[in-house]
């Protein structure tokens, strides 16, 4: 199996050579398999947006080589990296014909729901991707790539990645949010599952990035209280800050000194 290092080396030397398409496609499948397994291992294929984006561009240059199933996998992997803008970047490279057909069409809807932070509406759409036959024409055979995608959706790793990203976003907006809303947003059953899930997610506290704390401070009186951070707290002291960086002044003095000599 091609490793991440080998892929990086390939991208350095032969990025736009169509002969590397099979290797990049195989690496996409490996990334998706790694995303499906619940336990991480050193042999997991590391996510590489650069590799996937290069593949999508090769499809742009050589449309006859385009594999819609692989494009869908690339979009799915980018979706897991939300709130990065990666799905948007891929949408600028893939034709509307492919993006408008399943499963890409559902992936795009999922992306739109994440972008507009409609998390509770996201999960029913997302679960559709877990049905391999969803969106396919009647009596057609479901491809191996589509099954691989469905496995990833149905596995817990991807759902937990999405939950973690959503929870971090909520933690930037809310100091305290209704428990019911948070459970719906994360597609979790009850307070116990939220507490168990959130206990593994740490963020830098407002005291400094080095001091990490659990993202959820407590659940009390029907509210989820998030750990304080710069984003969800009142700004301390004066909001008006002035100051000149030492580096800027030193550079300026050095240049004037040289000229004065």
């Amino acid at each position: 199996m091609t490793t991440h290092t080998e892929i990086q080396s390939l991208l350095q030397t032969s990025a736009y050579n169509p002969a590397i398409i099979p290797q990049l496609e195989s690496y996409v499948r490996a990334q998706l398999s790694s995303a499906s397994t619940s336990l991480s291992s050193p042999s997991d294929a590391q996510y590489s947006f650069e590799a996937n984006r290069t593949l999508v561009k090769l499809y742009q240059f050589f449309p006859e080589r385009e594999d819609e199933g692989v494009v869908a996998m690339c979009v799915f992997l980018a979706l897991m990296n939300w709130p990065e803008v990666e799905v948007g970047c891929l949408q600028c490279l893939v034709g509307e014909g492919v993006m408008g057909a399943e499963p890409c069409a559902t992936l795009v809807r999922c992306s739109e729901l994440l972008e507009s932070c409609r998390f509770s509406s996201f999960w029913p759409e997302f679960r559709k991707l877990g049905i391999p036959e969803y969106g396919s024409t009647p009596n057609s055979t479901v491809s191996e790539d589509r099954k691989l995608l469905a496995n990833a959706v149905n596995g817990s790793k991807c759902s937990n990645t999405l939950r973690e990203n959503m929870l971090k976003m909520l933690g930037k907006v809310y100091k305290s949010a209704p428990l019911k809303n948070v459970l719906e947003a994360l597609d979790l059953k009850d307070e116990a599952s939220l507490t168990a899930f959130a206990s593994k997610i740490m963020i830098g506290s407002s005291a400094g990035e080095e001091n990490e704390t659990c993202i959820v401070e407590k659940v009390e009186n029907g509210y989820v209280v998030f750990a304080s951070c710069v984003e969800n707290s009142k700004r301390a002291g004066s909001a008006y800050k002035e100051g000149v960086g030492y580096g800027d002044i030193a550079r300026m003095m050095q240049e004037s000194k040289i000229r004065g000599q």
Binding site: A15, Y16, N17, P18, F49, R53, K57, Q60, F61, F62, P63, P83, V85, G88, C89, Q91, C92, L93, G95, E96, G97, E112, E115, S116, C117, R118, F119, M169, L170, K172, V173, Y174, K175, S176, A177, P178, N181, Y223, E231, N232, S233, K234, R235, A239, Y240, K241, E242, G243, V244, G245, Y246, G247, D248, R251, M252, E255, S256, R259
Partner: protein, 522 residues
């Protein structure tokens, strides 16, 4: 032109240019020849016609293959500026560039080899002009083959019409030259030039070619719709650890090298500005575009820019960048110079007031301002002549895709702007009340509170003090929600006064340096 019909000044120019670029390697001599003599001789003898062919002048430069390839490119560039190229001219251009780059790369030392004697010198302007024209011809060729395909496909569907002989001839030539201007080969040459120029044993000319190839690569990636790659291509130029390089008698950083060639600086800023906008990096877009527009505004006033060749295009790009700034400054509050802000307001008051009143206005601005994106795939020409085939090659329309994506991004901003305008009036307000101001139910409204923060979250370029990009926000306010109440603060005020003083000190320093460089002969 036969040898005995050449004016002496043409022969002398070729001889001197060869000598300066291949033997004496004196920057000031080459600069005078390339920027002065070439234009004078062209204006006098070849204002609307071709220079002598490279075969005709080969004896003036000892049949030096690389120099002849440089000469061929230079004169072809002139010809295509005065005469609309035919399909065969375009193919000829491709072969000229391929030959030139193959020869330039073959003379470059191997990575790790000892640095030999420099055998080629090109001034920065010449390096950029080669690469800029290379990409301009690529862009033109992509557009040409798409329109040729579309003309054929339209008539194929109508049994009463046949394609014109001109279109059929073009299709035939294109079919016979499928590899011409292939995007993967264009990318190969640019990336190879960058890599070779970054080697430790690279001469100054290869370093120039490397940095200008990065500017060109950034432009190409932007035209393909790959905005992340467009910004990454500029990393080598902004690398703070890069060694300074000699430009004339000065030592300059790669960034200063690029800024010293105004068309390169402009191309970099425009395409980076578009890329930052499409990546939602609004503050970086404003910084990049605001900076170049301010420079150009001053240049137009002093008349400095008029002296630069190709200056007739500068106004058009200035207008397009002002339109981009209208979009960016409207989406988020970000600082740009007051004089530029007033130009933005003056030129685009109509569109901006349309957007304020709830109508759509961003699309018109974007369509005016955006570059001509290209369809990189080689069309299936046989399909173009068959009825029922897609009207665009492979149904691909990169330009429409970018506009569509941009409009999707802008769709949310009308609601976000309304929401922000209400939030600015309060230090705290109930979620339900804020929802009612926005004509929404609470369940429908709550996601917008998160959406606003998400959409405005963006990477920001590192500063001189800290080169790392970091996550920031383009929101003009700070808010958070606690127990169904939205608490609103003003955003951290950006530094104002000390930035102004620092900028004026730097400007003063710059002026004093220029004065010191002036040689006054009494």
């Amino acid at each position: 032109m036969a040898d005995n019909l050449f004016p002496d000044s043409v022969k002398d120019f070729v001889f001197d240019l060869h000598d300066a670029s291949r033997r004496s390697l004196v920057p000031s001599e080459l600069h005078a020849l390339y920027t002065g003599s070439f234009r004078d001789v062209t204006a006098k003898y070849f204002p609307t016609s071709a220079w002598p062919t490279s075969e005709a002048i080969a004896s003036e430069c000892s049949n030096d293959e690389l120099f002849l390839a440089l000469y061929n490119e230079l004169t072809l560039r002139h010809l295509q500026s005065v005469k609309r190229p035919s399909v065969r001219d375009r193919i000829e251009g491709w072969h000229a560039y391929r030959k030139l780059f193959d020869l330039v790369l073959s003379e470059a030392p191997e990575d790790g080899a000892e640095k030999g004697r420099d055998q080629l010198f090109l001034i920065p302007e010449w390096c950029f002009d080669i690469l800029h024209e290379f990409l301009y011809q690529f862009q033109g060729f992509c557009q040409f083959r798409t329109t040729t395909y579309c003309s054929a496909a339209k008539t194929a569907d109508d049994p009463e019409k046949t394609p014109t002989s001109h279109v059929l001839d073009s299709i035939q030539v294109l079919k016979e030259n499928r590899d011409a201007w292939a995007v993967e080969t264009v990318l190969f040459y640019l990336r190879r030039l960058i890599r070779v120029g970054l080697q430790k044993n690279a001469s100054v000319t290869y370093r120039y070619l490397s940095y200008f190839a990065s500017v060109t690569l950034s432009r190409l990636e932007c035209l393909l719709g790959d905005y992340k790659a467009s910004i990454s291509a500029l990393d080598v130029i902004y690398d703070v650890d890069a060694e300074a390089l000699a430009v004339g008698e000065e030592m300059k950083s790669p960034e200063d090298l690029v800024n010293g060639v105004f068309p390169a600086r402009l191309s970099l800023a425009y395409h980076a500005g578009v890329s930052y906008l499409m990546l939602r990096r609004y503050k970086d877009a404003a910084g990049m575009l605001g900076g170049i527009c301010l420079f150009m505004q001053r240049g137009f006033k002093t008349g400095q820019l008029r002296k630069i060749p190709g200056s007739d295009q500068f106004n058009k790009l200035f207008d397009r960048m002002i339109a981009l700034l209208a979009i960016v400054t409207h989406i988020c509050s970000t600082q740009i110079d007051d004089s530029i802000a007033s130009v933005v307001r003056e030129k685009h008051a109509n569109n901006l007031s349309k957007i304020e009143s709830g109508e759509e206005g961003y699309e018109e601005l974007f369509v005016f301002a955006c570059p001509k994106f290209v369809n990189p795939a080689v069309p299936n020409y046989e399909e173009a002549l068959t009825a029922g085939s897609p009207l665009m090659p492979y149904g691909q329309d990169t330009y429409k895709l970018q506009v569509h994506h941009f409009m999707n991004e802008m769709a949310a901003h009308q609601t976000l702007r309304k929401m922000k305008s209400y939030m600015c009036l309060y230090t705290s307000i109930g979620v339900e009340k804020l929802a009612s101001f926005n004509d929404m139910k609470v369940e429908e409204f709550e996601p917008w509170l998160a959406c606003f923060k998400h959409k405005m979250q963006q990477l920001e370029r590192g500063t001189e003090a800290n080169a790392q990009d970091k996550m920031g926000t383009a929101m003009g306010i700070h808010y958070y929600v606690a127990e169904n109440t939205v608490h609103v603060d003003e955003a951290e005020k950006t530094r104002r006064f000390e930035t102004f003083f620092m900028k004026q000190i730097a400007n003063n320093d710059d002026i004093l340096r220029q004065i010191e460089r002036l040689k006054i002969e009494v």
